[in-house]
Amino acid sequence: MRIVNAGAATRNISIVRFLLVPLFLLILAGCAPKSYVVLLQSPDGTTGQVVVSGSGGTQTLATAGQRAPLDGSTPASPMKTEDIMAEFAQAIAARPKIPTQFLLYFTGGVTLTKESAALIPAIIAEAASRPAADLSVIGHTDTLKSDEYNDQLALQRAKKVAESLSAKGLKALTMTIEWHGKRNLLVQTPDNTFEPKNRRVEVSVR
């Protein structure tokens, strides 16, 4: 008698589960977040992280193609590539070309090395490929001599590169000249150290 009852109960639970599971999934689908973030691979091939925090908690996304609601209420879950492309087609299509950097080196003073001088036309071509190109030209030095001396030298180097770009026909919306002197070393050295890799101008083309 008991055994039969137990069997009947099991059958009842199975029927309930059979009905409830699809219902539960339907409710879940109805609750798919309308405000959410999707992590993607960066244009440079790496993937970093985003952390969302809201009234529902905090979630970390570390895998490309995952999404999570902005209120942080549920963990990250995969989103199909075609769904991502459909939802974000306009924003993705509007993405400007990713900015690029050039490093130019000096034999000493304000004279560019032969290899770096040859990059001037490449920078001009890069700017021409972009709408309303804007450039930053930032001068740097190694740590020989004083701050004041190196600020002046870094400025002169940046000016020299900007002048070369203009003279060779750069077309751009704006170009800003900045100098970091010996405060922004590419290769870390003690003070008063000769280091050719720090004698440079960085040109960013956006």
Binding site: S35, L40, V50, L70, I92, P96, P99, A132, T176
Partner: protein
Amino acid sequence: MRGLILMVALLLAPCVGAAGEEPIGYVKTITGDASVTTDDKKVVAAVGTPLYQGSLMETGKKGSMGVTFKDGTVMSFGADTVFKVDEFLYAPTQGKLKFASKLAKGSLNYVSGVIEKLKPDAVVVATPKGNIGVRGTQFLVVVEE
């Protein structure tokens, strides 16, 4: 000395926005209706429109807009989007690094720049539902009202 920046206008001088402030970025792509509002002055966005700290970017029902910032951050907005730059500090030699912004509604494609590489907690995109902390990557976000 180190805070000084020389502006060299090659083709046309950028429109003056907030007095004395340098642009922090420029509009690079546009489709349909899009605008930029700085200091309560709203202009129809065009390729080359400058952006400043406090600028509000908006796109219309069929609009989209792509912008780049001075630190190399790239953003693009889909239709019906409202996005504001609250704070943008990019002075690496002085350690001043911050990028705080707000996506009120719409969609955004974000590609990281240099600020968060130098200072990992310096970049936050706020939304009405929650905040997004960014650690050197690309992401998409949509906010529905």
